[in-house]
Symmetry: C2
Subunit: 325 residues, 2 copies
């Protein structure tokens, strides 16, 4: 399989690395909107301008889209699906149905296969919500995120006057996790589920009390949560908060039996040192599945719900049955 990358930020770099772990894939190029000579790949991957994409169609079985969900993917994925098999990590849950419809129309027009919303949430977490609810229909599920860096919340803090840098960690609250695992089916408020930990570098002489107040009262982002704010030095930021870890939990509890007398708990969790690199690894596995679907003559938009698990693996069906079933 010949793979290519569109967009070269943290996610694109992650895909470049992840493709080296795929025995059946070859990375033929990185495509960027920037002048290619200004982009330095991790390995010796050729870098091209996106204007070269149409001319390189023979070199690309699947194009892995590494743009952002806010502004890039809503246009990039349908545009590219007219020309290429594609996979993206579109993660704005509320607008997935619209994105799906747009990409489906484009892929059917182009005779290609497109898979949207691969990653871990949406992605692996979605799969676990689906499997668990299908197996335990009388039950309830809960998703917790973290401990991990929220880019959106970190950016929101950085926009406050007097803030030089900021890192925000979303932290699941242990008591809520335990209540869910117990099968008590608690109704949890936003505040009861997650804590927000903020590490802030303030400008010299800035009013830290005002910054802390502005963070804690910021609507949507922080006002509904218990939030801690810790001021640190630029050196501490560099030393202790350079990574982009994340993770979380999908837990479903349900009952079976003649009168629901037996409880069951299904729990899936991720602990990730690098959020973008793990997302990239999921994208690569689904790029493989997209290519298999295309080779079978399928067309249109798909999600992780539509892909037979075997399609994610480089192993044959017989090898999988022998070694993993």
């Amino acid at each position: 399989m010949k793979m290519a990358i569109y967009g070269y930020g943290n996610l694109g770099r992650g895909v470049e690395c992840a493709l080296r772990q795929a025995p059946d894939a070859r990375l033929t190029g990185i495509y960027t909107r920037r002048p290619p000579e200004t982009v330095t790949p991790v390995f010796d991957t050729p870098v091209y301008h996106i204007d070269d994409l149409p001319a390189h169609r023979d070199e690309i079985d699947v194009l892995i889209l590494c743009g952002g969900s806010a502004t890039d993917l809503p246009r990039m994925t349908p545009d590219m699906a007219r020309l290429f098999n594609v996979v993206d990590s579109y993660d704005t849950h509320a607008t997935i149905p619209t994105h799906f419809a747009n990409v489906d129309a484009a892929a059917k027009e182009g005779g290609t296969v497109a898979l949207i919303s691969a990653g871990w949430d949406p992605g692996m977490f979605s799969l676990n919500r689906l499997y668990a609810s299908a197996v335990l229909p009388e039950g309830r599920d809960y998703t917790f995120w973290g401990r991990g860096v929220s880019q959106g919340h970190s950016d929101a803090i950085r926009r406050i006057d007097g803030v030089v840098d900021a890192r925000q960690y979303t932290v699941p609250i242990q008591a809520a996790l335990e209540a869910v695992r117990s099968g008590a089916n608690p109704d949890l408020t936003t505040r009861q589920k997650h804590l927000r930990e903020c590490y802030v570098v303030a400008a010299e002489g800035a009013d830290t009390a005002r910054i802390e107040r502005e963070i804690k009262t910021m609507p949507n982002y922080f006002a509904d949560y218990d939030t801690t704010v810790t001021f640190i030095t630029p050196e501490e930021m560099q030393r202790d908060h350079a990574g982009i870890p994340h993770g979380g939990f999908v837990i479903r509890t349900g009952v079976t039996g003649a009168v629901g007398e037996h409880k069951h708990t299904i729990e899936y969790s991720l602990k990730l040192d690098s959020n973008p690199e793990f997302t990239a690894s999921v994208l690569v596995a689904y790029a493989r599945a997209v290519y298999k679907a295309y080779c079978r003559g399928e067309k249109g938009c798909k999600t992780v719900f539509d892909i037979p698990p075997a399609d994610l693996s480089p192993l044959s069906a017989g090898e999988l049955r022998r070694t993993m079933l």
Copy 2:
């Protein structure tokens, strides 16, 4: 969907209960090798003799096979796949390829869809091994079972002279779980992974020291494990060990990045009050998927690896994208 049950032990009873949670399925009958009047269903399900199966083909879209893996399913599944869409919980890992080949030939001959080895291991655990290894190719996975009742080990103890009743729990060793979660990729011996806890009711006057020695030195079953033996009264057995709980963990740790510098942990776990009822719930979800595949014109034997997750749910593709992705 019209569903029927073949075989009415703990698993068959579990399927009868699980089908009441399926909004899109109707249970049309329980089929047994025993005289039907000797079988008492949990609800008011009609009970028939298996000889009636061929005459009832119009009443059965999928036949859910609830026989045992040792002697029933190797013949039952291919025999029934010639006449019906079927699903089974065949769980002898080593002989799955043979069973698959036999069932595949029969299902293709009959023009039916058969799904084998649904349950939790094989089944949900297998899916998690596959997904995790596809996403983190450079890694290692571990499966732990328990805390739960092993029927095979309990039976082995019961065969010892002087034993009236016995219950054996397989218990994962916490230190091993922690070592695996840390990403240390430990090489673990059989003894380091699981403990075997035995509760035994001895006959009056029996030599308990001899019984304990015979258990602890029993090859294959106990000799390779740290085993505890506790003698209890019949009343304690009844009071404290009447359930059939089980569960376990599938953990994969792996690395990503330019030089494998980032670690990731994927963990899936089950905590089940009733092993047979949870297995039954998985069987019912896969029976739904079998029927969908049959309606699309597919034929032959499948496993959980071949089924698109969406097929397990009674919800439409659009509803799933809107509510679970």
